[in-house]
Symmetry: C2
Subunit: 243 residues, 2 copies
């Protein structure tokens, strides 16, 4: 799947250098891959599943279903992300996870995970760091939905997505592929699909961003950041001073 280094290895290296043994361990973890068809549900809210996944390729979404039938998408994991760590610890999963496109994932059982943490403590810290970054993204998302207007929120979302994809080499400065439907965007942004459409039109008319045929093009990044109130993610590509 991944040519020389996997997305996960690339990401964890942002936290600090990895030893050969650690890289080998990560490679081994990802040696088993499962192909998942678009639409399949890997984690179901309320289920007692005990497997986490490393996403290798493709797009998915983790979300919560509400009683009234609505849903809130929490995040769109991208290649290199770990999914379901939380459902391993809590006995029943508090959220669902489905494939939005065909996906390739590597399952990691809970016992294997503990074993890795014991054998490579530094790797455990790296993964904990990655988890903290994900959590920070969720928190930012919360702030977005709670306190930003629909347009700001949407702009912010695409800027953040662009950054995340860039870290794993899936976006350049102006463009990236984004297989999401406006419906899915709506469930992520806490809006109606129709309003998402209007917001996208607005951003297009402002010559800031285009979302067309599942390609996102950022025409004026600086202006978009200003509109969204976007601040670069801290603790990201910051290099460790020692080690």
């Amino acid at each position: 799947m991944s040519p020389v280094t996997s997305h996960l290895v690339a990401k964890l290296k942002l936290f600090g250098p990895l030893s050969e043994g650690e890289v080998a361990c990560l490679t081994e973890l990802q040696s088993v891959t499962i192909h998942v068809a678009r639409g399949r549900e890997l984690l179901s809210q309320g289920e007692k599943g005990h497997v986490a996944y490393i996403l290798q390729a493709g797009w998915g979404c983790s979300f919560k279903l509400l009683e009234d039938g609505g849903r809130q998408i929490i995040t769109f994991p991208i290649p290199g992300d770990c999914v379901g760590l939380r459902s391993v610890l809590l006995r029943t999963s508090d959220h669902s996870f489905t494939a939005l496109t065909d996906m390739v994932v590597s399952p990691v059982g809970s016992s294997r995970m503990l074993q890795v943490f014991n054998e490579f403590p530094h790797l455990g810290a790296s993964i904990l760091w990655a988890t903290s970054r994900d959590e920070a993204i969720t928190v930012e998302h919360l702030a977005s939905i709670g306190r930003r207007t629909a347009t700001e929120r949407t702009a912010h979302f695409f800027l953040e997505l662009s950054e995340r994809l860039r870290l794993v080499g899936l976006a350049n400065t102006t463009e990236f592929a984004c297989p999401l439907s406006q419906n899915e965007l709506a469930d992520a942004l806490g809006l109606s699909a129709i309003h998402v459409n209007r917001v996208l039109r607005g951003l297009r008319e402002l010559q800031l961003l285009t979302f067309h045929e599942h390609i996102v093009t950022i025409h004026d990044r600086a202006a978009l950041k200003a509109l969204a109130g976007y601040e670069d993610i801290e603790g990201g590509p910051v290099l460790m001073s020692n080690t």
Copy 2:
């Protein structure tokens, strides 16, 4: 501070039994306490702080500041909760944390934390479990703000708060003390303070819940749960089958 067992010990016991050594370790961690005056800021967004805190007594809130001056409160930590674990891992804190009432906290340095994790691996797992629970609460909060109406959201918030407080013995089935202002509620719920006031009036007129003089009284829990679409927190007081 805490008479026989601390709030933290009580909470972690929900995950699984603790050995005497583990309890002793937790007690020792909380042997140093700092008194914090209402209004003091312990963590500042953007700062490079490397200390986490165990909240012993009092109320605080962790929140994000937005560029336009608005703020979004992420959660109100209550006694027994750990705060700032994430800012220890990411090099700069992505959120702030201030005291809403006078507080008592125990600081835990990052090195001390790692040391504990090494010496008592099971304790590390317990704390990781508690962290996962907190994250699940944040995710639920996200779903609330994104997909529930102001009234549902408010009802849900108080139900959840009531559960959390009950776990550490700070609430009974019908009542609990809650020193939050309507302004703080608004920043947590993603509403304006004025609308919070209207929503509270509505809940009072429906004879479901009263928020008066910083005492929350739940008059009809079942009806309130139905209105909020509240589902009990999974993975909470569930007992481990083994060990």
